[in-house]
Structures are given as structure tokens and as C-alpha cells.
Symmetry: C2
Subunit: 335 residues, 2 copies
Amino acid sequence: MVSHAITLKDIAKQLNVSVSTVSRALSNHPRIGLKTKERVLALAEKLNFRPNPMAVNFKNNKSRNIGIIIPELAKHFYSQLITGAEQLASRHGYNVVICQSNENTHKETILIEALLHSRVEGLLICIANETIDAAPFVKILNSGIPLVFCDREIAGLNISSVISNDYQGAFAATEYLIHKGCKRIAHLAGSENVVNSQYRKQGYVDAISKHGLTYQKIIYTQYDKSQAQVAMRQLLLATPRPEAVLCYNDYVAFDAVEIIKENELEVGKDILIIGFADEPIAQYMTPKLTTVLQPAFAMGEQAMEILLLKLKEGNKAREQMSKILDTQLVIRETA
Amino acid sequence: MVSHAITLKDIAKQLNVSVSTVSRALSNHPRIGLKTKERVLALAEKLNFRPNPMAVNFKNNKSRNIGIIIPELAKHFYSQLITGAEQLASRHGYNVVICQSNENTHKETILIEALLHSRVEGLLICIANETIDAAPFVKILNSGIPLVFCDREIAGLNISSVISNDYQGAFAATEYLIHKGCKRIAHLAGSENVVNSQYRKQGYVDAISKHGLTYQKIIYTQYDKSQAQVAMRQLLLATPRPEAVLCYNDYVAFDAVEIIKENELEVGKDILIIGFADEPIAQYMTPKLTTVLQPAFAMGEQAMEILLLKLKEGNKAREQMSKILDTQLVIRETA
DNA sequence: GGTAGGTGTACAATCGTTTGCACAATATTT
DNA sequence: AAATATTGTGCAAACGATTGTACACCTACC
């Protein structure tokens, strides 16, 4: 029972008016008579008429699609971010096309290409960890399509972005540890090439020196289970060993906690641990992880807000609009 | 620098042929001369021509969109499922429109309505927990749009579906506990109205009776932290108390473990616990959770496969195609 | 009563692509 | 040499909605 979809023509035929009259009546054009408008509206309602979106898109030369590229949907942070972005986009009549780069820069470039060809009207991208080449992004801008970075950005490009305040988060977390009385605070950092990692490290370093502490120890890790564990083992071997460790993210923190437990030390007492992100595992691990919450949902939402603004304002809105959202220390059991 | 997108007309003009010739040359129409084809292909390549997708969709009266409704993207299971479905769809040139019902039947109905109006070509739905009314789904079928249920289904509707074998998973998990020597195995079930919960319960019951055990204790819980905890406390008060608990899902299992620890009992020794789903928390909680893995990625992929088949075959493919994917017991520390 | 202005509606073009049909040119058959 | 088949290309319509322009009718004013 595939019922034929109602078109303007159907309404026009039934009312003995032209298609253009129906179209204008529905869009409340001032030159259409009141009685005609009423008749058209009534019939449109009765037949449950909806303009054919494919025809409208074609006519307007707009896809009403927004492309989103993230590293991996199955990470809670990104699925939250997407949810924020998608909800707002959908409220403005846009569909969202979600693509996953799997932290692979090459795939990212291919996805960008594909999205541009599919005529998305805007792009929201959380770039892969290793991505440093600006060329694909410059290409997007040159094609006239608005672009907003979220969570991660390429510095020096003047591209709008919404990121969380990594510096402030790490600074606050480190200060918290200092207020707790720790003198020897170590940092399991992320990769040296990732800007987020750099900011977090700097927050740590500055908090340490602000309070005149002398102990400072940083070990870089890519995210990789064994590396984080090796690094933590290394920290435990040092004498005197650190009283607290600020970790690059919750997964690193989890690994650190495992190693500490293996060494029969008590996390939260012998050694304090703070993570970063507030992934669900923070609440489910034992002891529960004290961590720096990144407002994933709000980040996605605000990045989309900027994108929608740019879409509305057209080309004049090329100036950079960036936001840095504050993080929040969530105190649980590990510190 | 918004460069005007290349159209067939541009190519036709440059080569002094008609638009239709260009169109046919590109689609390798047999009546177009070899030399003409070569010239057209060369220029199309050079100009990086891509057919305007909005025009093609409009012409074909196809949106190339597939709607997916899930309860909540931020649950790992669903983001995995989506990933499987999306990858396959994208390989076949379809976009996927992802919508979240938040386990709300009313919102689900509204989303279905909206997706139908947006002219999606097919629908893949993981229904909300409480959904029982078949009407919206019958409406989808009557509109001629293929529909596949995934993860959850409404029984007796003859609608294609891909679900995991809840019965077998629960049966195997219970048998495993029995082989471990447990005689008193309790079950923290989900809601009595949810079919998945019914199947899991039945698997538990049948395994118990197959092995001639007499102890059987079932407590129903909606998923809700306090309810699961109350239920677990109740189990601990019973004398003799159960030696093992099969939980409706990993979250219930986590709550159960918390309560057991509060009571100074050792999980995995005094009481064995098995969860369901294999969410990430299973690996991160302490002790690590033994659980029944549901193949989320494969479920999404296979549901999409059925949907794509129906899309390809058109209306003749109305018969039901259903799959039940086996689960797998992942043995960790709690049992 | 003629013109100006306002009101209500229809016609036709447009967006980019696809496709049935027509027609011309060439090749093949009788 | 004439009839027929084959090959290569162009014309035009179609999809559904929008919109500039034309036109008919009515009212009001001088």
C-alpha cells in the first residue's frame, strides 16, 4: 500500500488553482486571497501535505546536512559530544552525518573529501591525535564551507573552535593535590605532539611553580595500556616516590591504579590519583576516580551553535569564534 | 573563493556536445561513440566532476538516507551497534540519520513520524524498553518503507529483526555457574514487560531445571540504581544466601557487587556474579566482571545488511528475515 | 470616463540529471 | 542502387517547489 506522496500539484488540481498559488498560499504570500489561503491550508492539512525535502533541497541547492568527524563513536566522550551537537542541529532542521576517523589522519582526509563531495553545508571536526597538516582544513575553508573544530584544534589557523580548558583543569587538579598536602606530584602526560596534552602539562607545571614546589616529574605516554603501566612502574621505583599522580586521562589513571594496587599500596591514601575526562569508568572503578570533568555535551552543543551561526550569516561570518569551556574537578575516592 | 560546482552543462559546453551525451558518456551508455566517451571522461576527470547529489536524489525520488532510532547513543552497546550499521550503510552509499528516543515511547513515535516525512528509505529501530504498541510500526510497513528491529523487538509482528540470543546466553551463564559447583543461583531480572528480560529469565530457569536444582529465586528490577541495590540486599538477607547471582545486565551486576562488598563478602569467592552485555565497565570494575557478551557491532551490521537487501529487492522482499546472534560468556574475575 | 493603483491568480522558467524518442549519418544487406 | 540496420547524437520532458513577470479584474480618484 505505497500511497503516493502528496505534492503541490495534487492540491492544485483538487482546488482548481495553479501550483504556484498553492505554493504561495502555504508560504502566506500577501498577494493570495484570504479565502484561497484558507481553502489551500485546509486541504493541505487534510491530506497531511509535506513539501518533498529532496525537491526543496535541490531547488535551494542546500543539502541540509552537516558533517561531523570524530575519532571514535564508541568513546563515551565523543558520543556525548555528538549528542549535544546532533540535538541542536536537528532542532534547526539539519541532519548530521557522522563519520569516524579511528584516529587515522589519512582516513580523516578521505572523509573530508567525501563529505565535501556530498555537499554538506558545514563541518564539525574533532581531529585525530596525530593530525598536524593544515592543508585539508584550509581546503575546506577555501571551498566556502564553514568549519568548526571541537575538542582538539590545529593552532595558528584562525579556525573557530570549542575546546575544554585543559590548562585550567590540570592547574586546578594540581592545586587541589597541593592543598591536600602533597609535595611530590608527578604527571603521566599524553603525547608531546598533542596540544591538549601540552596544555595539561603546562597547567601542571605552572601550579607546581606557583606554589614554590621543587619536585616535578613528567613522563610522556601515547595512550597505550602497556606504556602507561610501564610509566607508572617507573614512578613507583623512584625514591622518594611521588605522593600523587596527575594522569593525562581516565584510562591512564585506571592503568596507574592497577599498578599501584599490584604493589600493595593504597590508592587515595599512599598515592593520590587524578584522571581527566570523567568517562563512565571513573565511577565504576574501585576506588572511584577523582577526575577533571570535560563538558562533552556542552562542547558539542556550542560547537554546533557556532556552526549554525556561520551557516545563517553566510560568508560574512568568516571571523573566528572560539570558546574555551571550563572543566570541573569531580572529587571521588582516589584523591 | 566559492568555486562554482561543475555540472554536466559545463562539460557539455566545453566539448560542444549536448548535456544528454555527457550524461550517457559518463554512465557508459552503449550508443555513445568511443572517442566521445573518452573526451567526456577526460574532461570530467580534469574538472573533478561529481554529480550533484541533491539533483540525483530528487530525480530518483530517493533520499539515500536510512533512519536509525536507538534509546541512547552514549551507551556503549548502542554506539557499537550504530558503528556496525553505519559502516555498512556508508559502503553502500547511504547516509544514516541517528535519532535517540531516550527510552521514551512517545518520543520514539514522534521520531518515526519525522523520519518518514523526511523520506528515509528504510528504518532500523532499537525500540524503547516500555514500547509495546505495534501501531507505529505497522504504519511504517504500510507506507512501504522497510523496517528492521535490532536488539529489541515486538513479538508477533512478522517484522525482520536481529537480536542476540538472550535465552542461550543466560542458559550458558547459568550452566557455567552450576559447573562451578553452585547450587543456589539467584537471578536479578529486568522488567517483566521487556522481552529480552523474559528470554534471559527463561534461560536461567531452564538451566536450573535441566540440572535438577531446586533453588530458584528471581527478583525483578527496572534498571534503576536503587532498585538493583535493594534487590541485592534482599538476596543477602536470605538464609541460606545464594552462592551466585545472574544479573540482567552489567550495571545491575555492578550494583550487586557494590552491595556485596559493603557486606564484607568477597565477590568471586563468597558469591559469584555474572552480568550481561560486556559493557566497558565490565573490564574496569574491581573485581573484573564475568559477563555475557552481546555482539553489538555484528548486530548493527547484520540488521543493516537485511535492510539493504530489502532496499535492493524492493517491495517483493516483504517476507521476514530474522537472525539471532549467539552471545559469548566472557570469564573474568567475578565468577 | 479614463487612468492609476491594488488585488488575486496563472504562466513559465529554473535548479541538474536522466531517459524515451527522433533523426542523421554511416554501414550492411538484398 | 535501394532498402534496412546500426551507430552516434540531440531535443525535450520529467521530477517538485519557488519565484519573476504578466495579466485580468476591481476600486478609487481626478
